[in-house]
């Protein structure tokens, strides 16, 4: 078996020795896994063995058994595994992928964050018809970028059932990121419930999966309670609003098992590396609905890439990764095992792995920290006494959009929250990445000033579990959002809801306006926090129809999606 590992010049492991170890683990992976995981995610992993120069891939989507602990279920896998195989190709190559549907329903694969012709983007009903049962669809496109990405089904709720996997596109020229060894760390969430049942439960009882509501017993116990308890007057304020301060994640560890490279915490996915090496960890959040707080206690991480785009290195101890985002970090391989901790944002559960010089070792797993609560700032209320987060100016918000039963909350005052590290991480005593830290390594190609502005509101009603843009569900929108081909656009996103939404535009990067001017970071998925007003710039240079949606799977399914049409001609 020809195994080519991308190793940089200053590698401290001989290539020969590495090949040997990789071979051992490949052999082990044939018998060891309880559930079928692809080679790149094998239980004890010495790095990514990769066939160089592959441009053609055959992918088979079909039933795949999954086993976690004593539980067994039928997932949907790609080439028999969950997650699917690593797709690795080189910038500049023309890639073709034959995707065969072995299910009894339609399927699709979407290449998340990739620049390609719209009819290769893989969104049924928007950019193509989907892949019918028993048929094969050939995707063909030129790799016009490099970096860490991922792919997943865009059909129904298949993504929750396991249809996702990583993509690495190696740069055509030298990679400015130097490293000796690399790993994909793909985080995801798994439920043994039928995902449609999960959605139905949320429709019928919004707090269905809330594991920790504020209780009267907790109030009486006061400081001794297991989690922070709001005083009575604050509870009354939340109750008056018909909202809950514990509504952090719609779906929680009450039903979810969190996975790292397809392994649960007990299975302890392990990255084996030699002390002193520079190790690149390519974090991908392939969850259906879970944001993770990622840290390696007692180790620094240097964030070098976000959403596949190189950024000026930022040294952090922790970062929050929204659904569908990716972050590449560099770490110094430790001399002793260290825990890679991925804690669900609502802190109802976690998954961990280990980075270690030796297989079969592990480190202490930190206990889950106290669950955060939403604050009045997340409500976007115009309270005289409330100052903006960290002194940010708060601007009153206009609401020129539909306000039907699907809109429960209208932000009165929106603010920039780019220097907020994410829910529950603003009071930790170490450095946490925030959006303000992200700065493109290279100057952006298009530095024109936007010629047109567009404001879009993220709207919803948790109680009815309805989610939308500008108050209109996908099924209620009569016309696509029109971008004129070639135009430079300013898109303002205002979050009227109490939840963080990872907003994903297909086909084009957006430049997050975070004060870095021509180095504003380019992202495919932008998390908009509660009551936040956030601006992105877009160069509409990819003609066609593109999906634009919240990447929380159940929000998209509930209607938080629109079509963006990039075409010549006048705007209406």
């Amino acid at each position: 078996m020809e195994v080519d590992v991308i190793m940089q010049s200053n590698s401290k492991v001989s290539r020969r020795r590495f090949l040997c170890r990789a071979g051992q683990f490949a052999a082990l992976s044939g018998i060891a896994p309880v559930l079928p995981v692809p080679a790149w995610a094998a239980g004890s992993d010495a790095g990514l063995p990769v066939k160089a120069g592959r441009t053609h891939f055959k992918l088979h989507i079909g039933p795949a058994p999954i086993a976690l602990g004593a539980m067994r279920a039928d997932a949907i896998g790609i080439n028999g595994s969950v997650p699917g195989p690593l797709l690795r190709f080189r910038e500049g190559d023309r890639v073709s992928l034959d995707v065969t549907n072995h299910l009894s329903e339609d399927t699709s694969l979407h290449w998340h964050g990739l620049l390609l012709p719209f009819d290769m983007d893989g969104v049924p009903g928007v950019s193509f018809a989907g892949i019918r049962a028993g048929t094969t669809f050939r995707y063909t496109f030129d790799a016009r970028q490099s970096g860490t990405y991922w792919y997943h089904s865009h059909s129904g709720l298949q993504e929750q059932l396991g249809v996702y996997g990583p993509i690495i596109i190696d740069p055509a020229n030298d990679d400015p990121i130097r490293f000796d060894r690399e790993f994909v760390v793909l985080l995801s969430d798994w439920t043994f419930e039928d995902p449609y049942r999960v959605l139905a439960n949320l429709k019928k009882m919004d707090m269905y999966y809330q594991p920790r509501q504020q209780t009267l017993a907790g109030l009486m116990r006061g400081r001794n309670a297991a989690q922070r308890q709001l005083p009575l007057n604050a509870r009354a304020a939340w109750a008056r609003m018909r909202m809950s301060p514990t509504d952090i994640a719609d779906v929680t560890a009450k039903t979810y098992t969190y996975l790292m490279n397809g392994r649960d915490a007990a299975a302890n996915w392990t990255a084996i590396c030699v002390p002193g090496e520079r190790v690149r960890l390519r974090f991908i959040n392939g969850s259906a609905t879970t944001f993770f707080n990622v840290r390696i206690p007692d180790m620094d991480m240097q964030v070098v890439q976000a959403d596949g785009q190189n950024v000026r290195p930022v040294r952090v101890h922790e970062f929050q990764i929204g659904v569908a985002e990716t972050y590449d970090v560099l770490v110094d391989a430790p001399r002793s095992p260290h825990t890679i901790m991925a804690e669900a944002m609502d802190r109802s559960g976690y998954v961990r792995g280990t980075i270690t010089p030796e297989a079969g070792t592990s480190a202490e797993v930190p206990s889950l920290r106290e669950a955060p609560l939403l604050t009045m700032a997340d409500m976007g209320m115009d309270h005289g006494s409330m100052s903006g987060h960290r002194g940010h100016a708060m601007a009153p918000v206009r609401h020129d959009h539909a306000k039907g039963p699907g809109v429960a909350n209208l932000t009165e005052m929106a603010q920039s929250r780019l220097d907020h590290p994410g829910l529950g991480l603003d009071d930790v005593d170490h450095k946490v990445l925030c959006y303000a830290d992200l700065r493109s390594l290279e100057r952006n190609a298009d530095t024109r000033r936007p010629e047109r502005g567009l404001e879009l509101h993220l709207t919803g009603n948790m109680h009815r579990y309805m989610w939308s843009f500008d108050g209109l569900k996908f099924s209620e929108v009569t016309a696509p959002l029109r971008f004129r081909y070639g135009e430079r656009l300013r898109l303002i996103l205002v979050n009227d809801t109490m939840m963080s939404h990872p907003i994903h535009l297909h086909g084009m990067f957006v430049e997050l306006v975070n004060g870095n001017g021509e180095h504003n970071p380019r992202k495919h998925t932008v998390v908009v926090k509660p009551a936040e007003r956030l601006t992105v710039h877009i160069t509409a240079d990819e003609p066609g129809d593109w999906a634009f949606h919240c990447h929380l799977l159940y929000h998209m399914q509930a209607g938080m999606m629109q079509t963006v049409r990039v075409a010549d001609g006048a705007m209406t």
Partner: protein
Amino acid sequence: MIRRSIALTALILAPCAVLADMDDAISHAWTQADRLEYVADDEAGVWDVQGYYGGDYHKFWWKTEGDVNAGHDDEAELQLLYSRAVTAYFDWQLGLRIADDGPMNTAAIVIGLKGLAPYLVELDVATFIADDGDVRLRAELERDFILTQRFILQPRLQVDAALNRSTQLGSDAGMSELALGLRLRYEWHRKFAPYLGVSWARVHGAGAREFQTRGLRDSSATAILGVRFWF
């Protein structure tokens, strides 16, 4: 009357038949037994069950409640409603109520409002307009107090009133019944919770006089035992 009821029901259900089938507009079916309980003093069984089928905006909603009583007359009612989401938290409900109020069967048009009021009070108010012009009002209020992650205390208030004097039913205008309940349920599962409670009810007006002539008390407090479940 029956023929008219059927025609009305068909009219009410017509909008429910045009529910779209797009991904974000799929219909769900929900059934909830809010109260399914044994009333100790009366040796009676009470049911209060409702459900819907529909999407975010339009639903077919049904409600039934009543009691099976060893001592005196049973009561039962069924409401078939079209439910339309009008605000973030409230639905208008329009439909038909068929009731077996002891001595006679009655049918009435229902115009109601159901939803979640500020401070998380579950509210269901309805007007029943019978074909003889008899107009009655009913308000039900419930509020969940979360004691622990499993124990939930639910006070409940129900008021029945008549807007006019009914010769047919022999009832006065004004409040006809007031019921208060306090139920402590244990959420063994989100969807299944046994409960214990107390309830107190008082009959007013003509009903009270009828109770008195029959030698019954016009108010009663009793222990209750029941289950609440939904699916």
